[in-house]
Symmetry: C2
Subunit: 353 residues, 2 copies
């Protein structure tokens, strides 16, 4: 499929995706204060959210709610909280990764400084839990408590996953096996971006079935893991071979940041001892001593050893596994909702942005 | 009163304080995971809490619960959460202030690096809200919900206050009036360290009276504000004239960090235009270009213009106001509990560490 085919094929899908995302963002902005302290807190918070991405996560949550026969508006408050937490994670992640670009613009910590950006992320995390406490819409108290428990687990997994990733970088670990990479990705990305959006959407659509045990939310875990890992690997690939204009971040930035990607893990496993030493020396350097020439060398070695095609192949296998897990899970959904998910899965891995 | 007199006078008080603090810390450590990811998350979290201070905040919460006839053990889960949030704030504050020392040791971000320290603070904030959701001890659902609302407000005020403080530094504001300083201190320090501990302790002791409106928790607000502002000003004074060994932080560190203290606000108000320009130039410099000689000059100017004695006098006036607010609030408390509070107030302002 050519890029043009994907784009035209995906137009109705992208419209639904954007529509869900916009609704969640709008519901979120309605709830964020417009008062003081504005200049250093609520102002930059509102701008950051206004400039946010397509809203994959709230869209997945709302689409799952629809697919299980729920009312989209019941899912909206939870979708807004999810988008808020996602933005909070991005702000702190960009500081932790010492990133420079996000969404085609300098990162927030370059605009308002690291101290205020840390505080802004804290405010957003605190606010997410306030919204959960104060307004989950028309849910019963029991269902509301289950939704809060989902978000609680989401926070725990994401933060533990972040500790795994940052710990590997800090230890300059080169013995990262595919399993380590997948565990880190499960915790850091899959739970909050894929598994919990499905679980929460289904829970809101079918609270009685969840309560009675007829619908087991754990059934979404494999699907979300496969899809999330496929997405993350593709995201890491785009960081190497994408265009900065579309991708919105610096190309090769992950290598500059020392991120433990599947390509890096693969490279460390297949190169000879001399090159491995060279790689380890590069990754052990303080950030500011890493040159573009070295980054180019790492990318060139990854290409020479087929690490990028290895990762793309892994991503496609995971996508196939997600498709297999999807069928029985969503067998009762109507054709329109099923179509959205099938397009969503293709988009996750075939997208070039 | 000499320092020796204060110390001997305060021995039983300090024992009670430490006892409350130790109980809260121990209850907290019992609930913090001991599993993975340990090296980069739960390990440093446990060490940081084990090495924490006296536990002023949980002690105040538990003492208020006692003074209002409650059971100390009912207050313990809330006291533990408060101590956890306090530690979370300290970790992020030290990064935001680019501080070097805490509790006589290098700050956590020097030990484990800024990225992991940011993530650790996030984990502690998320965990605090998990504990509130899962276990507030024997409280009724209604009282539990009120306690959570108190913590929610506590988080909001503290983070807004931090935005005010960091914003003043970022704008290199020199036109900080005493009212600006007091508003910032109310939000950043008083709510979480003084007002909410009293409110939560009284709420847990007398839930029915709070529900019926016979006990209005807002009555604690002035008392906590006066006491908190007195404490914060004294804390800022100790940063200038204390001993590093006792105080545990670098002396003059606030000036190096550009913190807007009452002394700095006063100095900017009373110096002539030439010195004001010199002060503004110093505070406008990037941190690494600020020399010890310049810090000494600022301290010397503060002394020459009686800014430190001005602040100490303000702190004592606020302490008097706190004592006046205390009497009607705690009129029904028994002698032992009243004595603890009277000693607590004296200690806040007369302490040298």
């Amino acid at each position: 499929m050519s890029k043009e085919q994907i784009t035209s094929h995906h137009t109705p899908f992208l419209e639904t995706l954007t529509d869900h995302g916009n609704k969640a963002r709008s519901a979120l902005l309605d709830r964020i204060p417009t008062g003081e302290p504005y200049e250093h807190l609520y102002g930059p918070m509102r701008s950051f959210i206004q400039n946010s991405g397509k809203g994959l996560r709230p869209a997945l949550l709302m689409a799952t709610c629809n697919a299980f026969g729920g009312h989209e508006e019941d899912a909206l408050p939870s979708a807004a909280v999810l988008e808020l937490l996602h933005n909070a994670f991005l702000i702190h992640d960009d500081i932790e990764d010492i990133s420079d670009f996000r969404r085609g613009k300098p990162c927030l910590h370059h605009e308002i400084g690291v101290p205020l950006a840390i505080n802004l992320g804290d405010a957003m995390q605190a606010m997410a839990l306030r919204f959960l406490r104060q307004d989950l819409g028309r849910l019963s108290a029991e269902t509301g408590a289950r939704v809060v428990a989902e978000f609680d687990h989401l926070l725990r997994e994401s933060i533990e996953g972040q500790a795994l990733e940052l710990g590997m970088i800090r230890n300059n670990a080169l013995d990262v096996e595919p399993d380590d990479y997948l565990l880190m990705t499960l915790k850091k990305t899959c739970w909050y971006s894929f598994i919990h959006p499905c679980r929460i959407g289904a829970l809101i659509a079918r609270p009685e079935e969840v309560a009675s045990g007829r619908l087991n939310l754990d059934d979404f875990n494999s699907f979300g893991f496969f899809l999330g890992a496929a997405f993350q690997i593709q995201d890491d690939v785009l960081n190497l071979i994408g265009s900065k204009k579309k991708y919105g971040k610096e190309i090769g930035g992950d290598i500059y940041e020392g991120k433990r990607t599947l390509m890096l893990a693969r490279l460390a496993n297949v190169i000879d001892v001399v090159e491995r030493d060279q790689l380890e020396t590069y990754l052990g350097k303080p950030r500011q001593l890493r040159s573009q020439k070295e980054i180019d060398w790492v990318i060139e070695r990854m290409q020479a050893h087929d690490c990028i095609s290895y990762a793309q192949s892994a991503s496609r296998s995971l996508l196939d596994a997600a498709r297999n897990a999807f069928d029985p899970l969503f067998r009762n959904a109507n054709e329109k909702d099923r179509k959205f998910f099938l397009d969503f899965m293709a988009y996750m891995v075939l997208r070039d942005v």
